[in-house]
Amino acid sequence: MDAKRRNRRGFLKSGAALAGLAAGGSKLAKGQTQGTPAKKIDELIAYGERSRFVTSIRVPVAERHSPDEFGLTFHVLTPLQDSSGIITPSSLFYTATHRGAFVPDIDPKEHRLMIHGMVDRPLVFTLDELKRLPYVSRIHFIECLGNRARPTHKTVQETHGLTSCAEWTGVPLPLLLKEAGVQSGASWIVAEGAEEVKGDSSIPLAKALDDCVVVYAMNGEPLRPQQGFPLRLMVPGFEGIYQIKYLRRIKVVDRYYMTYDDYGHINPDPKVAALTHIIGPKSVITFPSGGQQLSGPGFYEISGLAWSGSGAIRRVELSTDGGRNWKDAELRSPALPMAHTRFGYHWNWDGKECVLMSRCTDELGTVQPTRAEVAKYWNQPLDQNFRVPGADNSVQPWKITSNGSVQNGLA
C-alpha cells in the first residue's frame, strides 16, 4: 500500500510538472519547440538528457490502453523504427505486465531475495550481499509473447514493439542455486516478484541451472523501476513473462505450479505450448517500415533486427521482391546469443512498387518461417485471419508503393 501511495504522489507531482511545462512552453523564444523542458544547466550537467529535436517515444498497446481505468500499466511499445544498433535505451525499453501493475517504489535496503523449497540450505540475501558475489554482464533481448498479437498493425512499433535488448548485470542463478544446494527430485523453480500482485512463473530447473541471471543493473545503471528495480530474473530467450521483476523469492519445486502467470501458456495442443514459451528465430526490417515515407528513388540502407530465443543469429537474408529471391544481408553488430542483432543491406530503389522482407537463421539452423509455411505446417488456410500459434515469429513484409510510402504487406 505504502509503495502505491508514494507512487501516486509521484504521479500527481509529475502531472503538476507537465502542467507547468505546458504553461511555460508558450513563453519560449521563437524557434524552440513548445513543451521543451526548461531545466537548469546545473541539472543537465548532473544528469543529461536527449536533444529536444529527438522526440521518439513509447506508445501503449491500443487494445488495452495504459494507464487503464484503474491506473494500471499493461503493455507499452518501444519505437523500433527509430532504433540504431542493438541496445534499447532503458527509458524506451518496452514494458509489460500480465494483470497490469502500479510500478512499485521499492527501497533496495529493505529488499530481500529468498531461495527455499527443495534445497539443503534455504538462504536470504540482501541486495548488498548479492552485489558482493561474482557477477556477469550479458546482452539479451526480452520479448513479450503478445508481440505481434495482430499481424495487420501499421507500424513496426505496433507490430514488433514488444521486444527490446539491453546489457544486464547480475549474479548467475546457477551460482545461487549451488550455494543453496538443490535436492534430487527437483525439476522446476517458481520465481516470484514483490509488487502488489506478486507475479510468479514456473521455470524449468534445467534452464535455471543453465544461463539465468539474477539481475540488478541494466545498461550500466541500476534497473529502472519499470524494469524491476531493484532485482529481476533474466531467463534468456524465454518470453517476457518469465523475466520476473521485483524478484523476491525463488522456490525449488518438483512440478509445474500452474500459477496465474503460467496458465496463459497452457493449450490443449502441447505443440502450441512448446512454441509459446521460447521465442523462435525472428527478424524485422525497422527501416524502411510501415508508416515511413521514402523521398524518392535512389540509395537506401535497409536496416533491421534479428534475434532468437535458441542462441545466436547466424544469417539474415533479404528479399526486395516479395520473397522470390533472397540475398544475404550483412550483420552490423556482434551476433550474441539471445540478443538483438543488427543487419544492413545496400539497396537502390528504382521507384517501382515492391515488397521488402527479411528472414534469419539461428545457431541451431532453424530458419524464420513465412506465414505460408506456418499455415502449411498446421494445415490451415492462409488468410488474413490466420494467426500463428504460439509466439508469432513469421516473416514481416513491408510494401513500398510507387510514391514511396511504406505499408504493412499483411494489412
Partner: protein
Amino acid sequence: MALPRLSLSAAVLVMCQTAWTQSPTYGLGRSPSSEEIRKWDIAISPTGKELPEGQGTAKEGELLYRSKGCAGCHGATGSGMHAPTLISRKDVKPNPAAFCLAPCVNDANSMSLHSPFATTLWDYINRGMPLGKEGSLTPNEVYALTAFLLYKNDVIKEDEVMDKQSLPKVKMPNRDGFGLPPAWKHGEPRLQGYP
C-alpha cells in the same frame, strides 16, 4: 536441574547453527526462519500442499463479493465492468482469440475457469486481490470467495465446503484440456520438425 540445562544448551546450539548457516562458498546470506518462509510461501501447488487451514462456502463468498468491493470492478453479476470477467456470460460467444493480451473483460471467457486447477484461483485471489488491498483477505475469506466463483460457474454445488482437502480435488472444466511446456534442454529447438 541437569536435564533442563542440557536442553537449554542444545537449544542455544541449534539457534547458533541457524544463524550461522550461510552460503558455503562465499559465506553470504543467512537462513530464513520457518516463520519467514511461511509468510512468503504463497504459491499454491496443484496438490494444495501450501494451502492454509480454513474453510468457506459459496453463500459466505456471495456476501464477501459485495462487502469486499469485488462487485465494484468485476460487476454484480461477475462481468460487465472494467475488470476481467469472473462469471461466464451465457448470452455472448467466447472470444475466439488464442489468447488475450490481458484477461478478457466482459465476455464469455471467465478468468476463474481457465486454469485446470482450482488452486490457481485461490492463489490469485489470495495474492492479488482486492486491487489496492492485496494480501488483506483471511484464508477463510479466500476459501469462501473461491467457492462462490466456482459455484456461480457451475463447477461445484452451493453447499460444498472449500478447504485445503477439498479445493485441490475440484475437477475444473479445463482439467484435461492443456499441454505443459516441454522439458527444456540446452541446444534443442522449440519443436522438432517445426519450420
